[in-house]
């Protein structure tokens, strides 16, 4: 992993974009693990169809995730013969196998390690070269560990020489594009954390859970620096309710979790709906149901995020579409939650959250927590917390404001907040809580809509990148395809969707779930012009651009 991280940094240094994720076996520490890397001169938002190079220092129980390493006849397997035979599941892909005795090569360098040899080989084969790698090595090691630096650099050079001399044809990277400004390396979980803070989050209570923990680690260290508060709660029930308390107190609040934790939060989310207390929940989805597959990605929390609250409890659900978009979408989530005094769930997933990418820096965006604040009422007026306004948003006081005392309530209530079981109060407050969501102007951010044509690919979240790539390929093939990827999943925007679907006569829904959750949601919530085709599969295998492209080719005939 160290070597792969260095390669990412080196690529960034040299002006390339990169996408880096990892896959590993069940051992808590050690055991088999693979670093999965894509490098490109252009921005990357998706995995590729196959890997060009598989470099194996050893095999251990690689079969446990071999299916996650797609190879083809154009792929190259560089393997240390000392690690034994290439597993059949990999060799039968037709990939070309080249022996690379990394352990032996490393031994020829004093202090050399096989992973540095490997790094050098890859730097050579991709055309990245040794220079950027040396620079990264220098930054991380030179000062404190001069010996290690020298040894590593020597090993990298040795690897690079070996790489160059290998009879291993391999697409080299094109020259990097000219750079405007710097680049970032960031994971989706960190991006979400930074987006939250940019949006104005100043309170986080949370309970650790894979694969959301890095967001929490980030917030736990960043929030205090910026005048915010982070608390590790005793469980998710406490997390969400602490956030509600802090938000009632005036702080924009967030918690982050994964499926099992989200399940524990739905009662609290219902309270946020009814008491109209803004709060953001970042759900980094993993394989389900139940404990499922904590370290692998899936898009199967859509149902619970949209429909998982008891009663009629409309709220906000957003989904970021790339690692970088985790920042924008979380920032927007804070803005929307605060503007509408409603809970907002952000559906990220493991493949976004725990992957690291080289991206262009996130531009500033205008979305900030901006609650409609109630002020002390004029003499003789009484404050009504849940007043029936036209927008559905009722000004909310910050505790400490004289004259606005009220009781926030999860019981149905009259405009004042006093509990009421009257049909009229109930329906008026239900209407108001829905109205504020549907009347809000979400602008163009509600969806990515790209291209024109009769065939629409409708997808969401982390599948967006692959779908975009597939649509672009299909368009290059002369197929009139368009991409529709809602970033706002709930509430639904019937008019906007109808406009996006104008002229569409075939639909392909793409998602990573077993039950086709997104497809059912689309059919139930929208008037689609046609029964969609569905490309859906559970995790952990990502849906790759080639699969979508193939479906589009078939549909385009």
């Amino acid at each position: 992993m160290t070597a792969a991280n260095m390669l990412v940094d080196a690529a960034a240094q040299a002006g390339y974009y990169a996408l880096f994720s990892r896959s590993s076996g069940p051992q808590i520490r050690g055991g088999e693990a693979a670093a999965l890397l894509r490098l490109s001169a252009e921005p990357i938002t998706s995995v590729d169809d196959t890997f060009q190079i598989l470099l194996a220092i050893d095999w251990l129980n690689v079969v446990r995730f071999a299916a996650e390493l797609p190879l083809g006849p154009d792929s190259l397997i560089l393997a240390d013969p000392a690690a034994g035979e290439v597993p059949e599941i990999l060799s039968r892909t037709g990939a070309r196998i080249v022996d690379l005795p990394m352990k032996d090569l490393a031994q020829s360098i004093p202090g050399g390690r096989p992973n540095m040899i490997a790094l050098g080989v890859v730097a050579a084969l991709t055309g990245l070269g040794v220079e950027p790698v040396a620079e990264v090595l220098g930054k991380s090691l030179k000062k404190k560990h001069a010996d290690a630096f020298e040894a590593s650099l020597a090993a990298v050079r040795h690897g690079a020489e070996t790489g160059q001399s290998l009879d291993a044809p391999c697409r080299s990277l094109p020259a990097p594009l000219p750079r405007h400004g710097g680049r970032w390396t960031i994971s989706g979980n960190h991006a979400a954390g930074l987006g939250a803070i940019r949006g104005g989050i100043r309170f986080c209570a949370a309970y650790p859970i894979t694969p959301a923990t890095e967001s929490l680690e980030y917030l736990s260290s960043a929030l205090p620096k910026i005048g915010g508060v982070f608390v590790q709660a005793e469980d998710e029930l406490a997390s969400i309710n602490m956030c509600i308390g802090a938000s009632f107190g005036g702080d924009a609040s967030i918690t982050a979790t994964a499926g099992p934790g989200l399940a524990l939060m739905t009662e609290g989310l219902g309270l946020a709906v009814s008491s109209e207390t803004p709060v953001v929940v970042l759900d980094v989805q993993r394989g389900g149901p139940s404990t499922g597959i904590p370290t692998k990605s899936e898009q199967s929390d859509l149902n619970i995020a949209i429909y998982g609250l008891h009663g009629d409890a409309p709220h906000l659900v957003l989904a970021p579409q790339s690692i970088g978009d985790c920042l924008f979408t979380t920032q927007w989530a804070v803005h929307l939650a605060e503007a509408m005094q409603a809970p907002c769930i952000v559906l990220s997933d493991q493949s976004l959250g725990q992957s690291r990418a080289v991206i262009d820096p996130a531009p500033a965006s205008p979305f900030f927590a901006n609650r409609e604040i109630a002020r002390t009422p004029a003499e003789g007026e009484t404050f009504k917390r849940y007043a029936l306004t036209n927008t559905g948003v009722s000004p909310m006081p910050i505790p400490g404001t004289p004259g606005c005392q009220y009781t926030a309530d999860g019981l149905e209530h009259a405009e004042s907040g006093t509990p009421s079981s009257q049909a009229s109060d109930h329906s008026r407050q239900l209407d108001k809580r829905l109205r504020k969501l549907v009347l809000h102007d979400y602008g163009s951010h509600w969806a990515s809509i790209e291209g024109e044509g009769e065939i629409a690919v409708i997808t969401w979240g982390s599948c967006t990148g692959a779908a975009r790539e597939a649509v672009n390929r299909a368009r290059a093939d002369g197929i009139n395809a368009k991409l529709i990827a809602p970033r706002l999943l709930y509430p639904t925007l019937p008019e906007q969707m109808a406009r996006a679907l104008d002229g569409v006569s075939k639909i392909l829904v793409v998602e990573q779930s077993h039950l086709g959750q997104f497809n059912r949601y689309l059919r139930g919530e929208y008037d689609l012009p046609v029964r969609p085709d569905l490309l859906s599969r559970p995790g952990p295998l990502p849906i790759r651009p080639g699969e979508i492209h193939a479906r589009l080719l078939a549909m385009g005939k």
Binding site: T185, P224, A238, M242, F248, L271, P402, Q405
Partner: protein, 275 residues
């Protein structure tokens, strides 16, 4: 100009309680209002947070920033509020079911975390709101409930004060709702004491536990001065019969608070990700 002072009445709203006539909780409501007035607080600087139950209806009857949240989660809501807003006086209130049954985990963790707030439990040893089921403090042999087997549940009742002590609460007291002034004084002392203060108030449910009307003849002031030695407090609590009123433990742990000062800008945070 001196700051206005407020009377107990100013801390009461004009919402009519749903409580049964004679319910002990009326006394607790009066005590809270009196305590806030005695502490010379202003209504808009106070907050009363609760869960669900008869007793948990209390916020709406106060003129404070109230939060009637969900069953068992009042302490979490209260802690979030206090951590976000150290300037407010946060009082969390509720019942024995809300606090010790469904809310038990937040209770022990609130004791341990020691955020500076005051927790008032109206203990009537029953679930009043759901019409009379045994709670964690219900006597093992009480069986006048459609949900208890003849002879009672047979489960030894909880000792919330002992658990609070073992979990790290910083102030522990017992009060009786019939004694409005005494209860108000204990609440005021709990609010003043740093960290997490726990005050259990014996508050009769005259509908489902009529026999609790007798409590007024049984309660008595504790004979001991308050201790700050946990071992001594533990021994006393383990041998106490449950009717000694007063401060039973007064600890000296620092309260848990999060300093809030800005050391950097968003641009600084951005720059951590620059290549």
């Amino acid at each position: 100009m001196t700051a206005p002072t407020y009377s107990a009445k100013d801390f009461r709203s004009d919402v009519k309680p749903v409580w049964c006539p004679g319910c002990g909780d009326y006394g607790v409501l009066a005590s809270i209002a009196k305590a806030f007035a005695d502490l010379e607080l202003a209504p808009h600087q106070t907050s009363v947070v609760s869960g669900i139950g008869c007793s948990s209806r209390i916020p709406a009857y106060t003129n404070t920033y109230g939060f009637h949240s969900i069953h068992g989660r009042a302490l979490a809501v209260g802690a979030g509020l206090k951590l976000a807003r150290p300037d407010l006086t946060v009082l969390v209130a509720g019942g024995d079911g809300d606090g010790f049954s469904i809310g038990g985990n937040h209770f022990i963790h609130a004791c341990r975390r020691n955020v500076d707030m005051t927790y008032v439990v109206m203990d009537n040893r029953v679930y009043g709101m759901t019409k009379g089921q045994p709670s964690p403090t219900t006597e093992a042999d009480w069986d006048a409930s459609a949900m208890a087997p003849p002879g009672g549940t047979g489960v030894t009742p909880f000792h919330p004060l002992a658990i609070a002590l073992a979990s790290g609460a910083n102030f522990i007291a017992r009060a009786f709702s019939g004694d409005i002034n005494g209860t108000a004084a204990l609440i005021a002392e709990g609010v003043r004491h740093p960290g997490f203060s726990f005050i259990t108030v014996m508050s009769p449910c005259i509908t489902f536990r009529e026999e609790q009307r007798d409590w007024k003849t049984i309660v008595r002031p504790t004979g001991f001065p308050p201790t700050s030695d946990p071992a001594q407090a533990a021994r006393r609590l383990m041998t106490d019969d449950g009717f000694n009123m007063g401060v039973l433990y007064r600890g000296n742990r620092d309260s848990f608070a999060k300093p809030r000062s800005t050391e950097c800008t968003i641009a600084d945070l951005d720059s951590e990700f620059a290549v």
